[in-house]
Amino acid sequence: MLYFLIRRILATIPVLGMVALFVFFMLRLTPGDPAAILAGENGEPHQIEGIREALGLNKPILTQLTIWLGNILQGDLGESFFFNKKVTELIAMRVEATLSLAIVTLIITLAVAIPLGVLAAYKHGSWIDRLVMGFSVLGFSVPVFVLGYFLIFILSVQLKWFPVQGYKELADGFWTFLHHLILPSLTLSVIYIALIARMTRASVIEVLNEDYIRTAYAKGLSNKVVLMRHALRNAAVPIVTITGIGIALLIGGVVVTESVFNIPGLGRLTVDAVLGRDYPTIQALILVFSLVYVFINLLIDLSYTLLDPRIRY
């Protein structure tokens, strides 16, 4: 098991290395002078020179790469042009809001999506099934920001149940914190619920066609027991897998949601960095988000051994 753990962690290194290479070459291989691109259309020559200096763009490309990789490994993600701060500090300041948003979203999602999916699978072909599937397609199609403004307008502006926008830290008190987070989390969770409910339904339906389900019925078990004890347990692996893959969707959604709800998190930072052409910050954020994504999927991979005794490494 320990051996497997080490091997699995090592296997993420090439992936992360590849991400680092992408991020590095993305700027350098862009046609034209990268420093000029970053300076923007109205960049003065001395600004361009400054950027070139700061990013080390005047050195040979391999030297740049070694320096850059070396810095990353030491935890130095560079300095933001725009905010004049170390990027790591910038990220540390913003991480709480994003993490809170993601966690509350995840809780809402799992609490809603899995029961919905199981119910739809169990009532396969009925109006309940069609309703859940219809909701799923709809949830997948309404963009986060459209839904976000819609909810704000109805629930906050008209009904005044929730604050319109903004974020309160946990330090300001748990209920205030939660009160501000519910609407953005609800908005963000819709697409994720759509995804996971759909997958849950499909996997449970597939499992219900397996031979061992027939065996379970042949033993004289009731529908409920077959569903909960035999079907859901066997459907767990694909459900957990899609939850992990969906994290990418969640990260994308965070960027948009934070803009809609004016939450000072990493997503907003990303947009600000792109608008300000603050390349060191963009690079760092991609690395951090990818690291989180890879790490979560690593955890999910490890969880397979608990969910399915056949999977041994």
């Binding site: 992936v15 590849m18 259309e41 599937m133 994308g252 052409r277 990818s290 994504y293």
Partner: protein
């Protein structure tokens, strides 16, 4: 277990051709018709009772839907018009902007779908059959997959001057690995099929095997996947515009209209509402079309994903 006869019963009641099946499928109908209407709207935008979408009129700023007024044309004459969807902060007609905005969305959706399918198909076919290349290609794809698609698109936009071409490029790059993986998985399973092994043993050369026996198996799943990519591309385009990193603000796109509208949305929600509805309906139609296509063209995948 022999429910052979039951299976043949289902087969007997099944229509003969794929086309007939598609016609019978209500999702294909609904999605197809809505999408066709959208396409027509986009193509015929100038004849849909629209005015110049960038026509600024400071007097008629922030008017609510239904406001009527006289519009002075270039030749000096005046015509009465009605702002069905009101006007924005600069007095531009929201209805015209929304109608013209459909052009960008559909072009981006179709272009990204076609590009990513073609590029992904080639890479996937080659890497599925050439072992040594496979390792390298898949490592690169793993790396690309590890960067969340929307994030990558946003980051790529920071490198270019915003424009239609760069937006398409930024959305299409993150889609490639998904197509490659799909094609590769089909190739890997088809090459184990006895009929492919038979082709090998009767001396059919590799390129012919790929074209004759493998490629046809990828078409249906790729059409389905292409539809979903199209929907996702329309969504991401709107997101990029909305965040201000996509198509330049002077060009009307649904995302841009909403980005401008959000400043005063508490008072004038119509600037957000109408483009939002169009965007949601278009994506919904494409997704429903995708589900319908999947059910008819790709029953195996349909079974897996419900």
């Amino acid at each position: 277990m022999e429910v052979d006869s039951a299976a043949s019963a289902a087969a007997a009641s099944r229509p003969r051709t794929v086309l007939q099946m598609l016609v019978r499928n209500s999702s294909v109908w609904f999605g197809g018709v809505v999408l066709a209407v959208m396409l027509l709207t986009a193509l015929l935008a100038p004849f849909m009772g629209t005015i110049d979408p960038s026509n600024i009129d400071p007097i008629y700023r922030n008017k609510v839907p239904g406001t009527e007024r006289m519009l002075r044309l270039e030749d000096g004459s005046e015509v009465p018009i009605k702002h069905w969807m009101g006007t924005d902060m600069l007095g531009r007609d929201v209805y015209s902007r929304v109608i013209y905005g459909s052009q960008i969305s559909l072009v981006v959706g179709l272009a990204v779908a076609v590009l990513s399918i073609v590029v992904g198909l080639v890479i996937g076919l080659v890497s599925g059959y050439i072992r040594w290349l496979d390792g390298i290609v898949m490592r690169i794809m793993d790396g690309l997959m590890a960067i969340p698609a929307i994030l990558l698109a946003i980051a790529l936009m920071s490198l270019f001057n915003a424009g239609l071409g760069t937006v398409i490029f930024a959305i299409f790059i993150p889609e490639i690995p998904r197509v490659v993986r799909l094609v590769r998985s089909i190739v890997l399973s088809i090459r184990e099929e006895p009929y492919v092994e038979s082709a090998v043993s009767v001396g059919t050369p590799l390129p012919l095997i790929l074209i004759r026996h493998v490629l046809p198996n990828t078409i249906a799943p790729l059409i389905v996947q292409g539809t979903y990519i199209c929907a996702f591309a329309i969504l991401v385009e709107a997101i990029l515009s909305f965040l201000g990193v996509g198509i330049p603000p002077e060009i009307p796109t649904w995302g841009n209209i909403m980005a401008e509208g959000r400043i005063l949305f508490q008072i004038f929600p119509h600037n957000l509402l109408f483009p939002g509805i169009f965007l949601a309906i278009t994506i919904l139609a494409v997704n429903i079309l995708g589900d319908g296509l999947r059910d008819t063209l790709d029953p195996r995948m349909a079974k897996r994903l419900g």
